[in-house]
């Protein structure tokens, strides 16, 4: 694997391998602590995302490597109008691997076309964010133990939620998956996502506007935020927003071993009272993000 731009750049086998390495890192961290000695990760964040950047940097530091980079475009040459290609041509001389976040869709692909060192897409606008999807997959694997046969509910903004689309693309490669798509009419999964990743693979799915009627069927519940700015008028937003907030009451009929995920940051779509429920996995999920990034860096630097 040279670059990671889109989650589908990885085969299901490669993802299994990364998950196995991440699990091994959690069990034997000392074995990995010098693996990237003398290696440098550049984090090029043309738009700020402290959470993702720190996750990458912590991952590299725990592998014994070092990090350099910038955390917003204003402090980089991009502010002076330098192209992505030129920035990469220069930074490629300083680093062994690059994690890049950029507000423009496709910028990491442009970087990959120019780069002599591996590029990891750390988010390109509303387009792709493959390491979030890897994090989601590791969490599901650790919490459920398997992928095959899971019924996965997605709830909230399924139209603009890129993490939803990528996770659907990745999960659709496993056997006997079923999807339950819970969203307001206005924020349904786009038809091209359904055509490419659900219908073409004959995966059964149901679409509904109400979480209450389906909660008992779910093995995994992936929550996303319903944002005010996605609605044409305030009335619709106010009418709908509370139906997509997860509360302990809504969880009454859910399975004992349901796994609740959220890409974070959360605003109010999961009541804080749910945090103490053993089914809430979203804080663990954030922690797992570092380990899957460690596994990814090892694999891309071929030091694993």
């Amino acid at each position: 694997m040279k670059h990671l731009i889109d989650i589908l750049d990885l085969s299901a086998e490669e993802i299994d391998e990364l998950i196995a390495v991440a699990n091994d890192i959690m069990e034997n961290p000392q074995y990995y602590q010098e693996k990237c000695r003398y290696k440098k990760l550049a984090t090029l964040f043309f738009e700020p995302s402290t959470r993702t950047r720190l996750s990458f940097e912590a991952a590299m530091l725990e592998l014994g490597g070092s990090v350099l980079g910038f955390s917003e475009a204003a402090s980089s040459s991009a502010a002076k109008g330098e192209s992505v290609s030129d920035t990469i041509a220069v930074v490629g001389g300083y680093a062994d691997i690059i994690a890049m976040r950029h507000p423009k869709e496709g910028a990491p692909l442009v970087a990959a076309m120019k780069s002599s060192v591996p590029i990891i897409n750390a988010g390109d606008g509303g387009h792709n964010h493959p390491t979030q999807t890897l994090t989601d997959l590791l969490t599901i694997k650790r919490e459920k133990g398997y992928f095959d046969g899971l019924t996965i509910g997605f709830c909230g903004d399924l139209k603009f939620g890129r993490t939803v689309h990528s996770l659907i693309a990745a999960m659709s490669r496993y056997a006997n998956i079923r999807y339950v798509l819970i969203s307001p009419e206005e924020l349904k999964v786009p038809s091209y996502v359904k055509a490419d990743h659900i219908k073409s693979k004959h995966i059964p799915y149901t679409q509904t506007t109400s979480i209450d009627s389906v909660i008992e069927e779910l093995d995994v519940l992936y929550m996303t935020r319903v944002q005010r700015e996605r609605f044409f008028n305030e009335e619709d937003y106010l009418r709908l927003k509370d139906s997509y907030i997860l509360t302990l009451d809504k969880l009454k009929n859910a399975k004992e071993d349901l796994c609740i995920l959220h890409p974070l940051p959360r605003v109010n779509e999961i009541a804080t009272a749910v945090d103490d429920d053993p089914r809430a996995c979203y804080f663990k999920q954030a922690r797992y993000g570092k380990y899957i990034r460690m596994a990814l860096i090892l694999k891309m630097l071929e030091v694993c």
Binding site: S83, V84, S85, H102, P103, K104, E105, G106, A107, L109, V110, D124, G125, G126, H127, Y192, A195, D196, S200
Partner: protein, 138 residues
């Protein structure tokens, strides 16, 4: 130029009626010095009406443009007044620098010296920008 008889040149035939102007621009035929005839709404048994373009010189044309617009278009190369070669068209797998992405959030709108590439997505038969996955607009 007698538009019925070209001695050496190219005849682009079976163009969907109304599409000739788009092809004229996309192939940059306005930059040619030779005669170019653009026939619109020509009666056709098969198509009802069709457009035809005749170019009075043998130039290199980008067949991907024609394949993208409609793979049923025919291209005849005329030499010494007879059809010397028929080019076969297909839906191209990739379009290089033929279309521009319309998504304002796409990196192609700001990055200099970038190749504009669209790839045919096999399931839906549509072209998508390789950078942002936005569908090509007609």
């Amino acid at each position: 130029m007698k538009i019925d008889s070209i001695t050496n040149g190219i005849v682009i035939d079976h163009i969907t009626a109304g599409k000739a102007m788009q092809i004229y621009h996309m192939l940059n035929l306005d930059a040619l010095d030779c005669s170019v005839a653009l026939l619109r709404n020509v009666p056709s048994e098969k198509m009802g009406k069709k457009d035809i373009i005749k170019i009075d010189e043998e130039i290199d044309i980008n067949l991907d443009v024609l394949g993208y617009i409609n793979p049923n278009i025919t291209v005849d190369i005329i030499k010494n007044g007879v059809v010397a070669e028929k080019k076969h068209l297909a839906l191209p797998k990739e379009l290089h620098n033929i279309l521009k992405c319309k998504n304002p959030r796409c990196i192609t709108t700001t990055e200099q010296d970038i190749q504009h590439i669209f790839r045919l997505s096999p399931s839906a038969g549509v072209y998508r920008c390789i950078y942002c996955d936005t569908k090509a607009a007609d």
